[in-house]
């Protein structure tokens, strides 16, 4: 079976600025992978290309052996780093929306998570707090049985208690046959759930290794190692 993500010489430039530089990367199935790098390192650009929201300048990317398109969008469940839901929609309408477009969307799971968080389904998105909106988005994304979950900075900008909820939601709801690609610069918070890490710096991949392997070989946490690699 083809890796869930294959990047071959992937390059993205904006004028003279190089956002991604010859990225070659394979991500295997059934793993939780951390895409780690400081702000502006190219994490979001790489993620957008995976989702077909950006076109690479050069190179190729394959999702389960296919170029980004309608079929790969069916396989990916994507959480962007911004609020992308219509403010005027009620939560219950969002559930129906996701149910209508994604055949792998599990309605029961969505309502179960909403109930646990005491989010009223009749409430409109615009009336919810920023943190609750983010939780609703996460619930929609994690209620799918996707092959690949791509979560862009899911814990940035939320309080520590909310971070725990988010990470718990991710770990307890994803499709075990699928993979999670989790982008963040808050390594300490996510370290415990990661199987593998990819370090990205100035648009280039500087390391891809198992989280446990780093801890054994370097005798330090991934967070500590990250700080050394990315020291200014």
């Amino acid at each position: 079976m083809a890796p869930v993500v294959q990047c071959m010489g992937l390059t993205k430039t904006y004028g003279r600025k190089i956002a991604l530089n010859q990225v070659t990367l394979n991500l295997e199935r059934g793993r939780i992978i951390g895409l780690l790098g400081p702000n502006g390192s190219g994490k979001t650009t790489l993620i957008k290309i995976m989702n077909g929201l950006l076109k690479p300048t050069a190179g190729e990317i394959l999702i389960s052996g296919q170029r980004p398109g309608v079929d790969t969008k069916r396989r990916i469940s994507y959480l962007p780093e911004r609020t992308y839901l219509q403010p005027g929609m009620k939560v219950i309408e969002l559930v129906r929306y996701f149910q209508d477009f994604y055949p792998d969307f599990c309605v029961e799971r969505a309502y179960d998570m909403l109930a646990r968080l005491q989010i009223p389904p009749q409430e409109r998105m615009k009336n919810l707090s920023k943190g609750t909106k983010e939780k609703v988005q996460l619930i929609m994304v994690m209620s799918r049985d996707a092959e690949l979950y791509i979560l862009d900075e899911p814990i940035a900008g939320v309080d520590p208690a909310a971070r725990d909820f988010i990470l718990h939601t991710i770990v307890s709801n994803y499709n075990r046959c699928g993979s999670i690609l989790l982008s963040t610069h808050l390594i300490a918070d996510v370290e415990d759930i990661l199987d593998e890490v990819v370090f990205i710096k100035y648009g280039s991949i500087v390391l891809q290794a198992g989280a446990e392997q780093i801890r054994q070989n370097e005798h330090k946490s991934v967070d500590r190692f990250f700080r050394e690699v990315f020291a200014c």
Binding site: Y14, G15, K48, N51, G52, L53, L54, K55, V70, D71, K73, R74, I76, Y78, P80, R82, T83, Y84, L85, Q86, G88, E93, Y97, D100, F101, Y102
Partner: protein
């Protein structure tokens, strides 16, 4: 998926636009009542003053609803396609063709409803005054008789409606194409969209000017104004122009969404 996209596009727009169209209806009824009152006011100053003010408000509200609907539909296209909501739209497992067609059909439908309401509103307003209505009808009959309207076939009328619908689609697609082309700029997307719109508008006017100039020259050469020829050539020109514009703007929008998508 096209049906689902259309359903959610309709759901996202109907509340505000329905309210705007209801305002048209209310203002029409009010203005019609005022016109009726003016028929029998026999120079009562205050009543006429109020009636004129209401009719002026009606004219202003018609203009505001028409312009507002267009602006709202443009805003909706921009935010849902290239704004934050574009992150959801472009990650749905749907074909780009379906996205464009759904947006085009729903926007064109709203513009059609809006135009039809304004059209009927004006007729209702004239019909509210017996004197004005009779004069208007007589005037229209005279104009149509002079132009030889009784010779116009049902086919021409149907084709004129078809041509109008295509020109409506072309209008919607033109705005979509300009907004999409504006995405080529990294920092001034809206400004570039506007520049594209102005540029395309000028090119269209130049082509239209050349075409109508040639048409007029040939028609005058025939030593008399053939109005039947005029009607037939009108719908043919509008239809051909509409279809060409639809194809060009559709392909541009599709190309930009499919090959040059660049969400911030």
């Amino acid at each position: 998926m096209l049906g689902k996209l259309m359903k959610y596009e309709w759901m996202a727009t109907w509340k505000l636009l329905l309210a705007a169209n209801l305002l048209t209806v209310v203002m029409t009824l009010l203005a019609g009542w005022m016109v009726h009152i003016m028929d029998y006011s026999s120079g009562r100053g205050m009543v006429e003053f109020v009636a004129v003010m209401v009719i002026l408000t009606y004219v202003g509200s018609m203009f505001a609803v028409y312009v507002g609907t267009s602006i709202y539909l443009i805003y909706r296209f921009y935010t849902s396609t290239y704004g934050d909501q574009g992150y959801l739209l472009h990650t749905l497992p749907v074909d780009t063709h379906h996205i464009i067609i759904a947006k085009m059909l729903v926007s064109a439908l709203w513009m059609l409803i809006n135009s039809a309401l304004i059209y009927f509103s004006v007729i209702f307003l004239f019909a509210s005054s017996e004197d004005i209505f009779v004069s208007m009808m007589e005037g229209m009959v005279n104009v149509f008789t002079f132009l030889g309207a009784e010779k116009i076939s049902a086919f021409t009328i149907v084709m004129t409606i078809v041509a109008y619908i295509f020109s409506l689609f072309a209008k919607v697609l033109k705005v979509g194409a300009c907004i999409s082309l504006g995405q080529l700029s990294a920092n001034h997307k809206l400004m570039l969209s506007f520049a594209w719109y102005v540029g395309i508008y000028l090119v269209e006017r130049i082509f239209q000017g050349i075409y109508f100039g040639l048409q007029l020259a040939f028609n005058v050469k025939a030593s008399h104004m053939d109005y039947l020829f005029y009607y037939d050539s009108q719908w043919e020109t509008t239809l051909i122009g509409g279809i060409i514009s639809c194809v060009v703007f559709y392909v541009l929008t599709w190309y930009m969404m499919n090959q040059k998508l660049n969400l911030d």
